[in-house]
Symmetry: C2
Subunit: 412 residues, 2 copies
Amino acid sequence: MPVNLSTPVASELHPVAGVRLGVAEAAIRKLNRRDLTLIEVAAGSRVAGVFTLNRFCAAPVQVCKDHLPGGNVRALVINTGVANAGTGEEGLANANATCAAVGGLMGIAPEQVLPFSTGVILEPLPVDRLVAGLPAAQADLRADGWFDAAHAIMTTDTVAKAVSRQVTIAGRTVTLTGISKGAGMIKPNMATMLGFLACDAAISQSLLDALALEAADLSFNSITVDGDTSTNDSFIIIATGKAGNSEINDPLGEDFRALRDAIIDVSIRLAQAIVRDGEGATKFMTIAVEGGKDRAECRKVAYAIGQSPLVKTAFFASDPNLGRILAAIGYAGIDDLDVSGLRVWLGSASEEVLVAENGGRAATYREDAGARVMKESEITVRVDLGRGLERATVWTCDFSYDYVKINADYRS
Amino acid sequence: MPVNLSTPVASELHPVAGVRLGVAEAAIRKLNRRDLTLIEVAAGSRVAGVFTLNRFCAAPVQVCKDHLPGGNVRALVINTGVANAGTGEEGLANANATCAAVGGLMGIAPEQVLPFSTGVILEPLPVDRLVAGLPAAQADLRADGWFDAAHAIMTTDTVAKAVSRQVTIAGRTVTLTGISKGAGMIKPNMATMLGFLACDAAISQSLLDALALEAADLSFNSITVDGDTSTNDSFIIIATGKAGNSEINDPLGEDFRALRDAIIDVSIRLAQAIVRDGEGATKFMTIAVEGGKDRAECRKVAYAIGQSPLVKTAFFASDPNLGRILAAIGYAGIDDLDVSGLRVWLGSASEEVLVAENGGRAATYREDAGARVMKESEITVRVDLGRGLERATVWTCDFSYDYVKINADYRS
């Protein structure tokens, strides 16, 4: 059961001018399921992307990295079922063949196609079946295809993930709609976190590139389910320029700030949806670390807390186990951390409780207050490192019996 | 059920000349259990130690770090029940009071006493009860006290951990006996890995210091249960000099090599015992990484595999899940790793199976061979990075339902 996340409402997913989506059943790995998605992007659109740092990066990721710098991307093709990762030269040939087939069908060059795969690692991509499914996906292309596409990119996700909003920029309505899938690399072999966000704003390529990095950093790169980085993680932002605003090219201007805020907001919600649907998750945890000398050390502490199996099992048990949180802060890797300057709070939507200060439990802390917070399904751990002005936030979920069950049973 | 580990045989734990051990029931946290251990060390002994890097290091660790450089250590005092960690100034005062009490009783200076605590974090040490228990521990001091001491330092360990062996150095029989406790920081609040190893060899302080670092690096710092570093971890080596060998002071000499090998062997077995008794463990895994440019990158890869919840749940399920192992190698943090040069084997005591090469599954690999290896209780994952001559080994256990159960239920 995902934590406070349900299937998006189709009518609330605004079409983005210049983007059409189509899905098909290609029997990549299983019959009778939509496993192929085609996204058509209008000429003149700008596209930016961020990809996994895993050295076993999948063939489609390598092809994306080749094609993206050329600009002029006109199509994205996404298959589920097989990740085409750990597949060597044959995998690369299959990813390129996919792009060639899409190009042939749509009358564009193979280099104008970005391919994405998610599913089982180490198995060959059945590229013939994928290619055979493309005409149906093309025939299905429509502006309101977001809802179906959100479903067609799912692997073992339990709910589809999509977010949409509109903002006014320079008097024009700008629409942003995105979809995502995955739960870190929490699913056995079903690797991959994918995120696709489109907007109709006009923005320069350099600012879009910077924004993709920043938005990924604050969203998809700020979540953890089990700390495993997949081979296929990809996050793409498309800006079609159809909204009619004059091109945004001033990083200090109001228009950029408005678009930036909206893109980051949608990215964060798409990323959070992945955590909410984390394997076996029963709680959604925000780890907010402030008072650091730099953002990197705040992230270290947030990830140490958010990835600790001891902290995550304590949250599953609704146990306000301070010792585990403090120990995680202590081993996060800040060598000169003065623990006497730390403060830690546990918070829910309705209250925030100071739990630690002066190197130990806060004098005012009462365990029943901590226990009350821990009973909630959305909990914030706030840490003030007391040594600077920087901050970072990481989102994670708890660690339950079902996590082990799902991951131990998957292939048996 | 620990993996291939049972209670040591008391008669096989050789006394070490110059060391006596006594235990007592001090009711530190629970009645009717031995929770206080006193170790008396003969005058002229040399002592070296390695301590946790956790910034929330416990009060006794701070006191040890103060007292150890002074040399001339004559006693160690260990309590279970309360870790005296996250206890601020009061905790420091309690650790110092403990040393003063031991000093008064034994006619030595407080600075000649090393204190150790393990148990619940964030709770005050009941120093009065501890001090009241000291005379009984002193009265119990005896050379063959290792077996009882191994039991008295346990917290939630399921079996006592002790290793003993004798080697001949320069014609003299040298005895090494050690005890350990803990399972990383796997136990909720029951933090702490402790290791105490004594030998009767004569060795210079500088070589003993270097040996303590090296032995810790190859043993207690090469295991992981859940990746959590405790606030109290300590490893101590005592060399009493009673064996009659002439003092070892040549790091290139044969005597040093013989002692070094023996100390590392005992340290590794003491450390492995902790993993074998890891919470919920059903399998003991050796992750051996070779062919690295340096030892640090080999350790990175070994820890990435050994700490991945996905890998650990797969081992629990006896599932030869290559994708998870390869993905962990890929995100271990070697930025310029060429995955096409990697080779990976799964091995048991009776066979070794090549599972991956050339960036994917090995052509010769058959899943039934992998499945056969995975059914064993002791499994080796061997990785050849194919880029250098260095190596590192890490030991870990699998991740089972019981891990979550024990850690989620502990305080409820």
